[in-house]
Amino acid sequence: MLPVSDFKVGKKQDFNFIGKIKVKILVIAAISVVGLFMAQLVFANKLATDGQKLSLIEEEIRNLEAQNLTLKVSIAQESSLVSISKKAQGLGFEKPSQILTPQSLLD
């Protein structure tokens, strides 16, 4: 049978150990909560002010898309047969009366 004093000491040591863990968990949780809260504040603050940046980026995308469209239209207009034939006529080109193909040369 164990002495009474030994039993009491053992029980007291066990209680302290669990208590320490509980305190540590509480401290870690509290730090985490505060940390996450702060992080949320920082990110939310950053995101809220990023609205302006997003707006600028969207504006830039719109401008680039519009420029692309304008360029596409200009390329199509310049390479159209209507435009090319006018230029060719201006440069003195004439329509061929006969076109020679490899097949026609063989025949």
Binding site: A44, L47, A48, D50, G51, Q52, L54, S55, A66, L69, T70, K72, V73, A76, Q77, S79, S80, L81, V82, S85, P96, Q98, I99, T101, Q103, S104, D107
Partner: protein, 580 residues
């Protein structure tokens, strides 16, 4: 009461007020804010699909354009002054974009139009009860930039894309155009734009986004975006080079022969695809409002006419297919005019060729000879073949305004109707129906519905359109016999002088009088020529048609020379050398 208690009560009341305020912001005010302007719901317009020619060149594309609107209560200048600044740029494009090329009369019209526009704008801008008023739509970028420079507060812009045609008026009637429906949305009218409108228009997207008081997006707020779906892009079978050649030649020919209008259709007989389709006079799609609305319709598919002698080929093919006649069968009634049901049938030049063979009947374009053929055929069989060749119903070509033509019900046919139909009178067809029918002969007797769109592209996914199943309407032997008759008609016919040397072309001229109020107009005709080449392995089938040519009423002197002139260019284009 001691000070600590007083402090505790004050603190409690303050906390209660804060909690109540937070509750109000979180829940009560939140309910209202869903309908608030802080959540901006806007439509993202979808771009309309482009239309490409067979070489991948955009015949129709989109151009940046804008809708101009005003907020009358925000305007910082007098309505009249603003109207004066805006009006010269918001009149019709013809006057707004080309001030140097205008003659005196046009300059006067321009001034009148500016005046009208000023009055209209002033009226709109003076109405301060309106929060928003639309001033103009589809305004080009240049005009927008010019107006922006004027720095007028209360005048704003919104994206409003516009169709652009790099090849100007090329294939205008075939393509159709985009206008507005009753709700102000873009909608396609006529031609491909009309037929393929649901595919081309795409689907508008939506953007729901919370905004701060400055109108900037709040990223931690609500954000809902539905992407717009761009309209389907179409690739056509139209060969841009052939279309260009045809339009140029057709314009010259209509002017040369003094015709009211002209139509040319060129198709690939094996695939049924349309290579070119042109009508003159035409209109410029960009400035269509300046043109007569009658020009919007594509006469190649919407106009019906009596085909005249070109239809003899159909009647003869039916008779050959039924073995009612063969190419060497002799006409026993071709000695002179024939009387049927009280009507006299004579030849176009009053010349008669007794004992002509069937090949000679086609060669001489002999109406009496065709009466002989129709008698051999009879009403029932001839009618069945007319329907088999696709007359009296739409061909199914992908153009909105296609008409079915007119073939009377079988029970209404009298013997005289069979006789006149055998040489193409008393029956109304569309030019595209003629091309489809002659294409069947060129294709060994197999009839294929004509089509223009060969590929549709949606979200990088390409899908080829398939031709309808070909229907064997006459035997290969019949097709080959009638082809030889058509070659003979070209080589020995009235227009033989125009035929390009070294090529075997199958064709038939047609000169049909125009029915007016129960009788035929003695002076007005529709001149046409239909055929295909090279006869042994056809690369194209073509129809040329002129309405009321004034230089000569005959197809052999107007439509045939145009056909051969275009054919010559097509031989070069396809690299087909002459045989001799």
């Amino acid at each position: 009461m001691d000070r600590i208690k007083l402090f505790q009560i004050s603190a409690f009341i303050i906390v209660l007020i804060i909690i109540f305020r937070l509750f109000y912001w979180q829940f009560l005010s939140g309910l209202r804010s869903t309908q608030d302007s802080s959540l901006k719901e806007s439509e993202i317009p979808a771009s309309r699909g482009e239309i490409y020619s067979s070489d991948g060149f955009p015949l129709v594309t989109n151009q940046e354009a804008f809708l101009i609107y005003a907020k009358p209560h925000e305007l910082d200048k007098k309505a009249q002054d603003i109207a004066k600044t805006l009006a010269p740029d918001l009149i019709s494009e013809k006057y707004a974009t080309n001030p140097a090329g205008l003659n005196e009369e046009e300059l006067k019209k321009k001034e009148d139009e500016i005046k009208q526009k000023m009055e209209e704008l002033t009226k709109k801008l003076e109405n301060k009860n309106l929060f928003w008023v639309q001033l103009a739509r589809k305004v080009p970028l240049k005009v927008k930039e010019k107006i922006e420079k004027s720095k007028i507060t209360g005048i704003e812009f919104e994206r409003d894309e516009k169709r652009f045609y790099p090849e100007a008026s090329m294939a205008a009637q075939l393509l159709g155009f985009v206008g507005f429906d009753k709700f102000g949305s873009d909608v396609g009218y006529f031609g491909l734009e009309g037929h393929w409108d649901r595919h081309l228009r795409g689907k508008n997207g939506r953007l729901g986004q919370e905004q701060d008081p400055h109108g900037l997006p709040i990223l931690v707020g609500q954000y809902k975006r539905i992407e717009p779906k761009k309209g389907t892009a179409l690739t056509l079978s139209i060969d841009r080079t052939i279309q260009f050649i045809v339009e140029e030649k057709l314009k010259n020919a209509v002017e040369k022969y003094g015709a009211k209008d002209g139509t040319v259709i060129i198709a690939d007989p094996q695939e049924g695809t349309i290579l070119a389709m042109a009508t003159y006079p035409t209109y410029n799609s960009q400035l269509r409002i300046e043109f007569d609305e009658k020009l919007y319709k594509n006469t190649a598919v919407a106009d019906t006419f009596e085909p005249g002698s070109t239809f003899k080929v159909i009647a003869m093919a039916a008779a050959l297919d039924l073995s009612a006649v063969d190419p060497s069968t002799k006409c026993t009634i071709c000695t002179g005019p024939q009387k049927i049901g009280g009507f006299e049938i004579s030849t176009w030049n009053k010349k008669y060729y007794p004992n002509s063979t069937m090949a000679e009947v086609i060669e001489h374009s002999d109406n009496v000879g065709m009466t002989f053929v129709s008698e051999k055929l009879g009403i029932d069989k001839f009618y069945d073949y007319i329907i088999k060749f696709g007359f009296g119903k739409r061909t199914g070509i992908d153009l909105q305004e296609e008409q079915a033509g007119s073939v009377r019900d079988k029970d209404q046919w009298r013997p005289i109707d069979v006789a006149t139909a055998s040489f193409g009178q008393g029956i109304a067809v569309t030019p595209i129906q003629m091309v489809q029918a002659i294409g069947a002969i060129a294709n060994g007797g197999k009839l294929i519905s004509p089509r223009i769109v060969t590929e549709i592209k949606q979200n990088e996914k390409e899908e080829k359109t398939k031709p309808e199943n070909a229907k064997q309407i006459v035997s290969t032997k019949t097709a080959s016999q009638i082809t030889e008759m058509m070659v003979n008609a070209v080589e020995k016919g009235e227009a033989r002088a125009f035929v390009p040397k070294g090529y075997r072309i199958a064709g038939k001229t047609g000169t049909a009088q125009i029915p007016i109020a129960g009788h035929y107009d003695p002076d007005k005709t529709i001149a046409s020529f239909v055929g295909f080449a090279p006869a042994e392995k056809p690369k194209f089938v073509m129809l040329v048609r002129f309405t009321e040519p004034s230089s000569s009423p005959f197809g052999s002197e107007t439509a045939a020379p145009t056909f051969f002139s275009i054919a010559k260019d097509l031989f070069n284009h396809f690299g087909i050398p002459p045989k001799e």
